[in-house]
């Protein structure tokens, strides 16, 4: 079964289109990282999946159901944390968890909640308003995970968490849920987290999907080459080659990304485009993100 299915979804606010006819699906059990620059449409995509925003056209299926028919039934099977989520500030940590238990009575796992709260070193009887931003976020994460959702949707879950808490959360919760067969969709600006945790990457740019690849493929398939600007070489020449994904001009050099292994890219540059002596190297996700999104207008 597909956990998430987007078919030609167009969505926006007022006259502005934010998601432009995007289609993708996520099979159950997959961990998918959603990346993109600010304003790329990540949050809108997530809100559409949560039935908070209705698409102008296209169809969405979440866990095999249309989320707009009876959103509450779909949300019962989802755990959700967003960057701007507001927990009741007047409740104590323990009360917030009890509230969530009453909302997810069938699937709430006391043991898991206790274990995660202990791992995060959360206080029990402190009002949410008195917690630090990071601690409040941790409470939200515990609540989202402790009812063992079939689908966990996280919109910038790590914002406000210190590196150790972030790693703790990702390794404990996401890994745990994924082992149980849950599907996880999370957006993040931390490329290292995405690289480490997800097995698939969805890169958005200006409301469109720029890249949709398995993480293993990504690590091997993309090569960066830096070409000095000399007469006869321009970005069009490079982009004309089918394997050239993007070209970004920096100072007097072109940064070109090829969807090839380093040796294959070297071969293409020398034999097909006719440029020699340019260094090529495999890219990590952060470099790929900067090069690909930076080259887009």
């Amino acid at each position: 079964m597909k956990a998430i299915e987007f078919s030609n979804v167009t969505c926006g606010y007022g006259p502005k289109t934010v998601l432009d006819a995007i289609s993708f699906d996520v099979p159950s059990g997959e961990v998918i990282g959603l990346v993109g620059r600010n304003g790329a449409g990540k949050t809108t995509l997530i809100r559409s999946a949560m039935a908070m925003i209705k698409p102008h056209s296209g169809a969405i299926q979440i866990l095999g159901q249309d989320p707009f028919v009876q959103p509450e039934l779909v949300k019962e099977r989802i755990g959700y944390v967003s960057e701007d989520q507001i927990l009741p500030p007047f409740l104590k940590t323990h009360d917030v968890m009890e509230l969530h238990k009453s909302l997810y009575p069938k699937t709430w796992d006391d043991h898991l909640a206790r274990s995660l709260a202990g791992t995060f070193n959360l206080p029990q009887n402190q009002k949410i308003s008195k917690l630090s931003k990071g601690q409040a976020r941790q409470v939200a994460l515990v609540c989202a995970v402790a009812h063992r959702p079939e689908l966990l949707i996280l919109d910038e879950p790590a914002g406000g968490l210190d590196p150790s808490a972030r790693r703790e959360f990702l390794e404990t919760s996401i890994a745990f849920l994924n082992e149980c067969g849950s599907t996880i969709l999370f957006s993040s600006h931390y490329m290292t987290d995405v690289e480490r945790m997800s097995n698939r990457l969805l890169m958005l740019h200006s409301g469109r999907i720029l890249l949709d690849r398995d993480m293993d493929e990504l690590k091997e398939e993309f090569t960066l080459t830096v070409i000095p600007e000399v007469e006869g070489i321009d970005s069009d020449l490079l982009l004309d080659h089918p394997s050239c994904l993007s070209v970004r001009k920096r100072d007097d050099r072109f940064h070109a990304v090829f969807q090839l292994t380093t040796s294959a890219a070297q071969h293409v540059l020398e034999k097909e485009i006719g440029i020699t002596g340019c260094p090529t190297k495999a890219m990590n996700l952060e470099e790929l993100f900067v090069e690909v999104t930076g080259s887009q207008k």
């Binding site: 908070m52 509450e72 206790r114 029990q124």
Partner: protein, 593 residues
């Protein structure tokens, strides 16, 4: 000027909302002045009734509290604090902005009021200008004094102290009304002097440096052991209360607002004049009730995004928002009707007593009046030929529908005619046959001025009859509640129609303010129409009482009276609920990409 631009209070100057508030206040001021003129005109110097004070005080309080809180709350921002400026200079910049905004605001209010005043002279211009200046100085004074809260900090932190300040400003609003009634140059001078002295004193105790509050975003707190902790699901009622509080950005305002909805429920429902509220203003109060209900609904609607992540239906959220407001409104109306039923027993259904001008006249309960579609009321003729045109008033100017009292008497009526009318009224209202000759003989006498008056025996007789009469048969609650509901739901549907991603945040907010503005304008129009005699609220109310009474006379009518308006209200509610299902992410957050 550059400092004003960078100071957080500077945003007040470019805030268009202030213009809208100024317009609303100007309209309100016209209503206030007209009301006072009318009260003076009929020799009823009673502008201090609770209804009047609450109504006008609420509006002034809201406007002034808004200006003061927005302008005075943040004493400085990080940028201003980083500049090499003394706190005294920063304070002076802030107070200048507040003073200037207040002056512009009141100039707007007075300007619009004078403009309207020039078309139909309600008051003398100096009265307005003087009152406006008094309001301005008091506003400045309260802004200065407010700086005492959290004195060393750069911002006044939200909390109980701030809330108490809001209430303090509210109370000040009441006093402002009094100043408006009789604001003199002496008032203005004395308050200006006090303000100057307070301002000077305040500059002497300013801290050397404003510090940022440390608790703004909470602090990391010591962890506890979670082993063995039990999680018990909370009750459905508690869950509702949590969600209800979560909907509001500032839950305090909800808890503060619900009593007002209750109060206006009371004010718009009472049919009998029992002295607390102005009994002719039901329509005005009803429309203002809807205004309040829509304002609270809108505020909750904008907080809807806080509940969106939870697995609860839109219907649940809709009921969460509307039911507390509905209950408050209904309870207010119910309490008023209950009190009405007890207090109206003290009112004589047939009375012969002097009015405010000392003229003795026969009055009967509203529901026993009559109506005609002829412009003129019929002539009442006694068996011996004496006749008199019944007291009558139009409902809408130019429309033939006229309400008249078939038992009215005038200063010129003969004692026999008065006795005849009393006999008819007693027969019709108490179903008791008393010969007019007996009334004339036993109960009517001439006083020192030669006017026909009721003697002690007559008064006792009328009171005795009144004591034995059954309680009023009128059930106005379903009609009034139905009316309020249907109008409220109509406006809610218009608001919800744009609460989706096809509209920008600005469009959605604009729609909300326009709808509120329409309701406010409608209620001011109702007030102005009443005063200008276009639609008479007293005769409308009488007509309403007559119709309700007519329906209440039979069981079938009584059932219709309950079923029709409540059924219509329920239909309207369900229809709105189904529209609410299409609501999308709350507008506060909806346009964040």
């Amino acid at each position: 000027m550059k400092l004003i631009r960078v100071h957080p209070a500077g945003m007040l100057l470019g805030n268009l909302k202030i213009l809208a508030i100024a317009l609303i206040l100007a309209l309100n001021m016209i209503g206030l002045i007209v009301f006072l003129q009318v009260q003076k005109g009929i020799g009823m110097q009673d502008p201090h009734s609770w209804g009047f004070l609450i109504y006008h005080g609420l509006i002034w309080m809201a406007a002034m509290a808004y200006l003061i809180i927005v302008g005075a709350r943040q004493k400085t921002n990080a940028f201003c604090a980083s500049l090499p400026l003394s706190t005294r200079r920063i304070w002076f910049v802030q107070m200048s902005v507040i003073a200037l905004t207040g002056l512009l605001f009141l100039t707007g209010v007075i300007g619009i009021t004078l403009l309207i005043n020039s078309f139909a002279t309600f008051t003398e211009p100096w009265f307005l200008i003087r009152s406006g200046l008094v309001v301005w100085v008091v506003y400045l004074l309260s802004a200065i004094v407010m700086q005492l809260v959290d004195r060393p900090y750069s911002i006044i932190r939200p909390g109980r102290v701030q809330i108490l300040w809001c209430i303090g400003v509210g109370l000040l609003g009441y006093k402002l009304i009094e100043y408006l009634l009789g604001g003199s140059w002496l008032h203005l001078g004395s308050i200006s002097l006090i303000t100057f002295m307070v301002a000077w004193g305040f500059t002497q105790i300013l801290p050397n440096n404003y510090v940022a509050p440390t608790q703004d975003e909470g602090e990391a707190v010591q962890a506890e052991n979670w082993n063995g902790v039990e999680f018990k699901p909370i009750s459905s009622l508690r869950r509702r209360l949590i969600f209800w509080n979560l909907l509001a950005k500032k839950p305090f305002f909800y808890w503060f607002g619900i009593p007002f909805v209750f109060l206006f429920g009371m004010m718009c429902s009472n049919l009998d004049d029992w002295g607390i509220f102005h009994h002719d203003q039901q329509l005005v109060y009803s429309l203002f009730s809807v205004y309040l209900l829509l304002a609270f609904f809108g505020a909750s609607l904008f907080g809807d995004y806080r509940l969106d992540p939870f697995p609860i239906s839109k219907r649940y959220i809709f009921r969460l928002i509307t039911i507390p407001l509905l209950l408050a409104q209904l309870l207010g109306m119910g309490v008023a009707e209950f009190l009405d039923r007890h207090l109206e027993k003290d009112h004589l259904a047939v009375d012969f007593s002097p009015n405010r001008k000392g003229v003795w006249r026969l009055t009967s309960m509203l529901e026993h009046a009559d109506w005609t579609l002829d412009h003129t009321a019929p002539t009442i003729q006694a068996p011996w030929g004496e006749s008199q045109e019944a007291w009558s008033k139009h409902v809408i100017k130019g429309v033939p529908l006229t309400v008249f009292s078939p038992f009215s008497t005038t200063r010129e009526s003969s004692p026999d005619f008065i006795a005849y009318q009393l006999s008819r009224a007693i027969d019709r209202i108490y179903n008791e046959k008393v010969a007019w000759e007996k009334i004339r003989e036993d109960f009517l006498v001439a006083n020192n001025q030669g006017a026909c008056v009721l003697n002690q025996a007559g008064q006792t007789f009328l009171q005795q009859l009144n004591r034995n009469r059954p309680a009023s048969n009128i059930h106005a609650l379903p009609v009034l509640f139905g009316f309020t509901m249907v109008v409220w739901m109509f406006f809610v549907r218009r608001l919800v129609a744009t609460s989706n991603s096809r509209y920008t945040s600005a469009q959605q907010k604009r729609r909300f303010w326009i709808l509120l503005g329409i309701l406010f304008a409608l209620h001011i129009c109702a007030m102005l129409m009443a005063v200008s005699d276009l639609i008479r609220l007293d005769t409308s109310r009488t007509l309403f009482a007559m119709i309700v009474n007519e329906f209440s006379a039979t069981w079938f009518g009584k059932i219709l009276l309950w079923v029709l308006p409540l059924g219509f209200a329920a239909w309207s509610y369900r229809k709105t609920e189904s529209h609410f299902k299409n609501l999308e992410f709350g507008i506060d957050q909806g346009c964040m990409l």
